[in-house]
Amino acid sequence: MSSAPKGSGAAPETPLPPGVLRAVQLRGMFVQASWNYRTMQGNGMAWAMLPVLRRASEERRAAALDRHAEHFNGHPYFDSVALGALSRLEVDEADPETIRRFRAAIRGPLGALGDRVVWATAVPSFALLAAVLYWMGVPGAVVAFVFLVAYNALHLAIRAQGFALGWEAGTAVGPRLRGLDLTGRAERFAALTLALVGVVSGVLLAGGRGVGALEWPWFVAALGAFFVGYVGGVRLWRPTAIVTVGAVAILLALGSASLLSG
């Protein structure tokens, strides 16, 4: 019946009740609740899609549930992009093969984005910023509160904007994601984190007396550590990186011990 281009971003002809897409988004929160080695997030994705799938025509419904339960492994926050786009494709009654191929193509990039932006950048950076706050003398409970609010503001923004982007762009979401340059932004944010690691290490070495009490050799050492990490860190083979971090930790411990006894 529908003659609009399938999943091309054209507005759906039958407007959805407003709650349906919101229900998909909320269910997306539990996308990993039945994670397994066979289909990974497949069950979770199918369950999240149910509010949209229930509205599908009789002949589409069973097959639709099957295809959304197939293997999927992206990232729990960035899966929202896929949920948005897949909702659009199902509502537009796109060709099932197109939907299957879209799922197969989008999971890898979303996993990579989530790894870089959230696990490798946001989590360590926000934790470190919290550590800096605590070191500055902010009470622990306040630091924990600020950390949780700030981190989840980012988390929920990714979910909400990701879903909206997917719903709007459908299968054409690739260039839109590239245009956002999330990886580039994460890299710059990670550089800031590394600078903080350097400064905080220097401060810890100086015996926790604060930046004001930081003598210049520690500051130089911190800057040096930052540049070594920034230039060499990404090229280190993982066991090498573990050994390096271990060695630095031992040096830090020895340094603090000698400072404390001296």
């Binding site: 999971r107 890898g108 990039p109 996993g111």
Partner: protein, 159 residues
């Protein structure tokens, strides 16, 4: 020979391939052999998202890949050749010189009818037939998800 990896992976280009293998093998070109994908702009855009801008990504039909493979084997690039299924890899290898090359089965997921070899590797009869064709074509077929993992030999793949 500068095809550094032949890999069968349903996910085609993704983190494990680009970061796990590509970095280890210093790959600078990713060739995806898939007839439908060669003709689908929006899908290509999605797969390109996983690769840094300085790397070359080529989407080729099976016929085009068979024609270009001898060039990829000798030119300056360090190429990773990817297919979605074992059958396409066997079609690509047959008659085109891939003697002694190792074909890596790295990600074929569960589907009704497929039997588990490893958590990342499920094969059905059609897949096993294609594995035999690859062996007949002179390649060495092994299962391995990441460079550091132990190879899964033919005896287990065909069991």
């Amino acid at each position: 020979m500068t095809v550094v990896l032949y890999r069968v992976d349903e996910r085609l280009i993704h983190g494990q391939v680009v970061l796990g293998w590509g970095r280890e093998l210093r790959a600078d070109r990713y060739v995806v052999v898939d007839d439908a994908l060669a003709d689908s702009e929006w899908e290509q855009e999605l797969y390109r998202l996983s690769v840094a801008d300085e790397h070359d990504v080529v989407f080729a039909t099976l016929a085009a890949a068979r024609a270009a493979l001898p060039t990829w084997q000798v030119d300056g690039g360090r190429t990773v050749v990817l297919t979605r299924d074992v059958t396409t890899m066997a079609d690509l290898a047959e008659g085109v010189a891939t003697d002694g090359a190792e074909v890596n089965l790295g990600g074929i997921h569960h589907r009704p009818g497929r039997r588990e070899v490893r958590p990342y590797l499920f094969l059905d009869d059609e897949d096993r037939d294609a594995v035999r064709r690859l062996v007949d074509a002179g390649t060495r077929v092994t299962g391995r998800d990441l460079p550091a993992a132990t190879r899964v030999g033919l005896d287990q793949l065909l069991a």
